[in-house]
């Protein structure tokens, strides 16, 4: 009977040799992201700025003109209207300033009457928006810090440093794509970025765990002295964990893509961010994090080899 088995561990794949190309590619992506962010910027949703967002739906397809007219009837002019849904039967409108309580009430009553569904209305004051943005940044920073400390204690500092570099890259990649596509940054997006960070670290740790195991196995037999020896261990570990990495990413991708394509409008961008993060995370843990650790570790070993030598020569 046919058995599905990727069997990467037996294949002759070298993930270490082209590391300079991987590093170059990674730096290129980061540069592109930095340029995008500084030119396009981010499309901050009302969660992080201020204003009012109205989501509504109707039985029939909507047009922007129709919606503008309905708003005009209650004396309001939205700053932006986007249509959504399979047949444009859903739409959302944004106002830059927060609407007054009475305006919101009028709006709810009017749209309920016209379209037969009560709309969603959320308003955020500038102060709250700023606080949310700052809090999210602090939370992300602290979460990263906590993870590094844990990894540094459980493994060693260099693993933690490489892991955090990889996760920052993953988060940055997701943010850059959102900047490129000008997708809205809202509260669920922050949750998505944090999930990405969680997965990224998860992935990297599984690989590092295997590297650590193989390194100590090797050290039982002989000292690790040269780069090739260490590179061989890293490559072997990567291949050993490759099937697991791919299977895990695939299964999580099934769930994330399903939510992205079939889920409610409200979490589409959340799921999309996760999909992006999974792709970035797989890339970084396969082609980036372990290679980075290898280069750093090699330097550390060299330094240690050089250090005691002069002392021994002292008369």
């Amino acid at each position: 009977m046919f058995a599905v088995d990727f069997k990467f561990a037996d294949k002759n794949i070298d993930l270490i040799k082209p590391r300079k190309s991987f590093f170059a590619f990674t730096i290129l992506v980061v540069l592109a992201g930095a340029i995008l962010l500084s030119t396009f910027g981010l499309n901050l949703g009302i969660d992080f700025s201020s204003g009012t967002r109205v989501d509504f739906m109707a039985d029939e397809p909507l047009t922007e003109e129709e919606i503008e007219n309905e708003f005009a009837e209650i004396g309001l002019a939205p700053d932006d209207i986007t249509l959504a849904g399979d047949d444009n039967e859903q739409a959302s409108a944004q106002f830059i300033g927060a609407l007054e309580q009475e305006e919101v009430t009028d709006l709810q009553v009017h749209f309920d009457e016209v379209f037969g569904f009560e709309p969603n209305v959320s308003t955020v004051s500038p102060q709250i928006g700023r606080e949310l943005a700052i809090n999210s940044l602090i939370a992300t920073g602290l979460a990263s810090l906590g993870i590094v400390i844990y990894v540094a204690i459980r493994f060693e500092f260099l693993y933690g440093l490489a892991a955090i570099t990889a996760l920052l890259y993953d988060a940055f990649f997701v943010i850059s794509v959102f900047s490129l596509l000008q997708l809205e940054i809202n509260i669920p997006f922050i949750a998505a970025v944090l999930t990405v960070i969680g997965y990224s670290i998860n992935d990297t740790i599984v690989t590092f765990d295997r590297i650590r195991e193989n390194v100590s196995k090797e050290e039982e037999e002989r000292d690790i002295e040269n780069f090739e020896q260490l590179a061989g261990i890293v490559n072997k570990s990567l291949l050993q964990t490759l099937t697991r990495s791919l299977n895990t990413v695939l299964t999580v991708l099934f769930a994330a893509v399903a939510i992205w394509l079939l889920g409610s409008e409200a979490i589409t961008s959340f799921a999309f961010a996760i999909v992006l993060g999974l792709i970035a995370g797989t890339y970084s843990s396969l082609f980036f994090a372990a290679q980075l650790w290898l280069v750093w570790k090699n330097k550390a070993i060299k330094r240690q080899q050089n250090k005691p030598a002069p002392e021994a020569e002292q008369p």
Partner: protein, 434 residues
């Protein structure tokens, strides 16, 4: 050695028992889950409390305001309201499933400070002089809707009215205000208006030594009832300002729930199918433990009074990913050991043990991230974080111990020995002679 049928029997007994338990109770578990307002429609508002004239906002003020808001929410009859104090000066009110959102908004934000003043806006009596719960709506002799309030001290009211009674019109009027604002309101400005800001300004016909006062000037019985309810619920001790609000229409919420649940089921079905296709027999075990996992997460989540929101559903499904990962890590290890030529039993034991350390490290890092989110996040993100933590803890139980128990029964029954294809391992890949 022959097959130990007892273990296989135990396996089926456990699976059937779980199947019966889940199919019998899953419906009730699903029904008793508290849905967030993004899934069933409703209304959420964040108020900022403004300090009083002395510029101070004490903890008592905040507590009193929260409890006053609570009383008012009771009037609305919402089944699962949530009123939480956030930070130092904010109160978040969440009313999932509230039917009349406009009424809710008005009811919450009206201060309901009743005051009796002279025509020169001098304060005579305030809401504090009212008997708690003593307000009711009704009709007067002219069949006009009125609100009847009970005062704590009839003597004091008698003294006030006898003083007013001696004045000449219009100074013999007792002006009754709702939410009087010193900067905005004065009797002489409003008296000329068609719709004055005060409720009524009856002239005092005689000294009134009574505790019962009726307030006229209601436009309808509904308005009278509304005011009576507000007065009974108690006034807000400080002014509040709306800084964030989120209203979700019931049908939009319902649609979001249906779509996301559907998407989630498709996603989980794909995961299970893939696991069975790749890991064969172990995949079937994974499918069983994953189903138990989802069931257990929902029970745990309900038992800690969690509120399921859209991000929460996302966390649940992503938690499935974490649980799957724990399975995959273990199975890959077992396959590796089988290929090394070990017996099924020792491959299973070694594989499970070696995978455990990795699983623990991976899960702890995610819990760290989730805990930070919970601590710093706002309510929607907190829902996500709680679900993620519950998911990870549960996945640990099901994917590690549950999976081990079920797989162990089969392995130890010896019926699987050398049946490599059941594990997705090709026989020719197995290294001989170990």
């Amino acid at each position: 050695m022959g097959t130990k049928w007892g273990r296989i029997g135990a396996f089926f007994a456990i699976v059937i028992a779980l199947g019966v338990l889940i199919s019998q109770t899953a419906f009730d578990v699903a029904r008793s889950t508290n849905l967030g307002l993004d899934l069933q429609g409703g209304f959420e508002v964040l108020y900022e409390l403004e300090p009083d004239d002395e510029g101070e906002l004490t903890e008592d003020d905040i507590e009193a305001t929260a409890s006053a808001l609570n009383e008012r929410v009771d009037v609305l009859g919402v089944s699962e309201p949530s009123i939480t104090v956030e930070g130092e000066d904010r109160i978040r009110v969440q009313l999932p499933g509230v039917e009349d959102q406009e009424e809710a908004r008005e009811l919450l934000s009206t201060e309901a400070n009743l005051s009796f003043r002279t025509v020169d806006d001098e304060l005579l009596l305030s809401g504090e002089d009212l008997e708690q719960g003593g307000a009711s709506a009704g009709f007067n002799d002219a069949n006009q809707p009125i609100v009847q309030v009970t005062l704590q001290d009839g003597e004091a009211f008698g003294d006030i009215t006898s003083e007013l009674y001696e004045n000449t019109p219009p100074e013999d009027s007792l002006v009754i205000w709702l939410d009087y604002d010193e900067d905005e309101h004065s009797f002489y400005d409003e008296i000329g208006e068609a719709d004055p800001a005060f409720l009524s300004a009856p002239s005092v016909p005689q000294p009134l030594y009574t505790e019962d006062v009726s307030i006229e000037g209601m436009e309808s019985l509904e308005e009278a009832e509304f005011l009576a309810e507000m007065l009974n619920a108690g006034s807000l001790p400080v002014q509040i300002e709306e800084v964030y609000s989120n209203a979700v229409g019931a049908s939009l919420g319902e649609q979001a729930l249906e779509q996301t649940l559907f998407a989630g089921m498709i996603g989980v079905a794909l995961i299970l199918a893939y696991m069975v296709a790749y890991y064969r027999f172990m995949g079937v075990i994974a499918a069983i433990t994953l189903s138990v996992y989802i069931y257990l997460v929902m029970i745990l989540f309900n038992s800690i009074q969690g509120v399921l929101t859209l991000p929460g559903i996302a966390a649940l499904i992503l938690g499935v990913g974490m649980a799957v990962d724990a399975n995959i890590l273990t199975y890959e290890r077992i396959k590796e050991e089988i290929k090394q030529g070990r017996s099924m039993r020792s491959a299973y034991r070694l594989g499970s043990r070696r995978a455990l350390g990795t699983i623990i490290d991976a899960n702890i890092t995610t819990i760290i991230a989730a805990a930070v989110l919970f601590y710093f996040g706002t309510s929607a993100v907190q829902g996500f974080a709680v679900m993620l933590i519950v998911s990870i803890l549960t996945s640990f139980i099901t994917a590690v111990y549950g999976s081990r128990l079920l797989l162990g029964l089969w392995i130890n029954s010896r019926s699987l020995n050398r049946k490599y294809w059941l594990f997705g391992v090709k026989e020719r890949d197995v290294r001989r002679g170990l």
